[in-house]
């Protein structure tokens, strides 16, 4: 254990590991916070469709512009992710197809198209295509200081927007029809929030890749929901869980040869989810089980001793006069 912390400390001195850990932490915060909205709006798989859809976007951007510049490639990813989200929402609205059906369809179509394009790009004679496949599972080691700063800037902007439109996003997530009757521009807010989720996905592509990105959106939110009943706390916790998972994953992957960072981050965040599902007070499975055992024991004891809990109504005498409210009700409706 001590050895692990020592290696953690010494590895912090390493520039690459420091950048990877910082980048992963920033990604964890962004995807954790925005993922809460995806989960609460029952669009947990939307992020999955978007990130898989990003692959053809990346390759097309490369083929069209002939550059490996990260900014251009990620713009391609964002455009394709956004297109997938738009298609998903409009196909669901205008056809009889269920959302999960459309998701499954879009995800495989976009990803398959991306793989075909990738194979095509890799046959190109130019050497510049090398490294496109790193977007499949991410390659955190390629993250440099400039990338971390860009991610932090984008993340800060996203968080500011969430804070500015706090009550609007909350109402949109809870009751969009009611929000519309209050005069909120629901369609516009919907597009805005979805675009923010696209941004979170794109930011994560370089670190964890298109295949695993949706876990970064869903997992911190699911874990955070276990510990709180307030939206604000849920967002804070999800950001925290995402950041911790990012740092732990980055350090773990540095601790041994051949451990990829992306999968390690996803495994770390999954451990947090597992722990939360089991042990969170009130919503955790283990907590539930203990509570039920204890409760049943207490009630059995109370029954044996004739100790009726206060929440059980007092048995009224059989000849009690009828409650006028109920009598009136009965007369009126039957």
């Amino acid at each position: 254990m001590l050895e692990f912390f020592l290696s953690l400390w010494s590895s912090w001195g390493d520039y690459t590991i420091r950048m990877v850990a910082l980048g992963a932490a920033v990604l964890g915060v962004i995807s954790g916070v925005l993922g809460c909205y995806a989960v609460l709006r029952r669009q947990a798989l939307l992020g999955d469709a978007m990130s898989h859809a990003a692959l053809p976007g990346i390759v097309l951007a490369y083929l069209l512009f002939g550059t490996r510049d990260l900014g251009i490639l990620l713009l391609g990813a964002a455009a394709a992710g956004w297109l997938a989200a738009f298609l998903l929402l409009s196909i669901t609205r205008h056809t009889h197809l269920k959302e999960d059906t459309v998701l499954g369809l879009l995800l495989s179509v976009f990803f398959g198209f991306g793989m075909v394009l990738l194979a095509f790009a890799q046959k190109q004679p130019t050497a510049a295509q090398a490294g496109l496949s790193r977007f499949l599972f991410g390659q955190a080691a390629t993250v440099v200081e400039r990338d971390v700063l860009t991610m932090a800037g984008i993340g800060a902007l996203a968080l500011v927007l969430v804070a500015l439109f706090w009550k609007e996003f909350k109402l949109l997530s809870f009751d969009p029809d009611y929000a519309a009757t209050l005069g909120l521009p629901v369609r516009l807010l919907d597009v805005g929030l979805t675009s923010l989720i696209v941004v979170a996905v794109v930011v994560g592509l370089q670190m964890v890749g298109v295949v695993l990105m949706s876990a970064m959106l869903v997992a911190p939110a699911v874990a955070a929901r276990q510990w709180t009943d307030r939206l604000g706390t849920m967002l804070l916790l999800a950001g925290l869980f995402g950041a911790v998972a990012g740092i732990v994953g980055a350090v773990l992957s540095a601790s041994a040869r051949g451990l990829s960072t992306g999968p390690m981050i996803v495994l770390s965040v999954s451990s947090i989810v597992l722990f939360s599902l089991l042990f969170a007070p009130r919503r955790g499975l283990v907590w539930h089980w203990f509570q039920r055992q204890r409760n049943a024991r207490r009630l059995r004891w109370a029954m044996q001793h004739g100790d009726v809990p206060p929440s059980v109504p007092v048995m009224p005498p059989a000849d009690a006069p009828p409650d006028p409210r109920i009598a009136e009700q009965k007369g009126a409706s039957r």
Partner: protein, 267 residues
């Protein structure tokens, strides 16, 4: 009571019978020539309604009659294929602040991480405007509304810990803080017990006493004469519309339900 009033015959009736206490003024809600279709099937056909100010109106009709759609069309939530809606003589989007909406309880996820007080404060979001957070004023209004529905003790509760009747009253409180002039309620009596139903109807009467107009999608035919003073009988078309004493007749009911009223369960 058994005599069918002349006004239920045709839908193009521009002068409704005014309520006894008020002169024929601008109606609270005026719907004219409204047709709504999902794909090619019309769900509402050529609806005309004038709802006078200060009445308690029930919208009744069989399943699939378009009751909820009518309400959503008035609120601008569904786009009509034809027709207009006016609230106090002006288009809805100019009069939003005067209309409060109580959706069906099952339309939201009650496991959403928020408290009872928070949900009620949502009723003020429209009046607050952009970038302003609810503050002391909104809190006080929300607490007062919770008091009206007798849920003040539950203000800090997570909303999933409420019973169905309590959830319904939270939605009522959320509409009350809007301090609207017209309230549109979609099945507020759905799945609530007898005592809660009493509490809700007393609240509706109190609203009417304060001059508010309340439109309720309702399912229980037996309670219509007791609870409401106006009624709309709806089955894609407007079958009848007017004071309960005039239009809530056996003949109109059987026209609405296709002669199967007796076979209808009361709820």
């Amino acid at each position: 009571m058994m005599h069918q009033s002349h006004q239920s015959h045709q839908s193009h009736q521009l002068q409704p019978v005014p309520p006894p206490t008020l002169p024929a003024a601008v109606p609270a809600v005026a719907v004219s020539d409204l047709t709504v279709a999902y794909r090619e099937q019309p769900v509402l056909w050529d609806i005309d309604l004038h709802v006078p100010t200060g009445v308690l109106l029930a919208i009744v009709g069989p399943n699939g009659a378009g009751k909820t759609t009518l309400m959503k069309a008035v609120l601008g939530l569904v786009k009509p294929a034809a027709g207009q809606v006016a609230i106090f003589g002006a288009p809805y989007h100019q009069q939003r602040q005067r209309v409060g909406y109580v959706p069906q309880r099952g339309s939201v996820d009650w496991d959403f991480p928020t408290s009872v007080l928070d949900v009620v404060m949502m009723g003020r979001y429209g009046a607050l405007g952009w970038f302003r957070r609810p503050g002391r004023n909104e809190r006080d209004l929300a607490l007062a509304a919770l008091q009206q529905v007798k849920l003040e003790a539950y203000a800090a509760r997570q909303i999933s810990q409420l019973s169905g009747g309590q959830q319904q009253r939270v939605f009522l409180a959320r509409a009350l803080v809007q301090d609207a002039d017209i309230y549109l309620m979609d099945e507020p009596f759905q799945g609530v017990d007898a005592v809660t139903e009493r509490a809700i109807i007393e609240l509706l009467r109190e609203l009417r006493a304060r001059g508010k107009t309340v439109v309720v999608v309702h399912h229980d035919l037996q309670t219509v004469p007791e609870y409401f003073d106006w009624v709309t009988l709806l089955n894609v078309r407007r079958i009848a519309h007017g004071p309960v004493a005039e239009v809530f007749t056996e003949a109109n009911l059987s026209r609405t339900y296709g002669g199967r009223t007796t076979a209808m369960p009361s709820r």
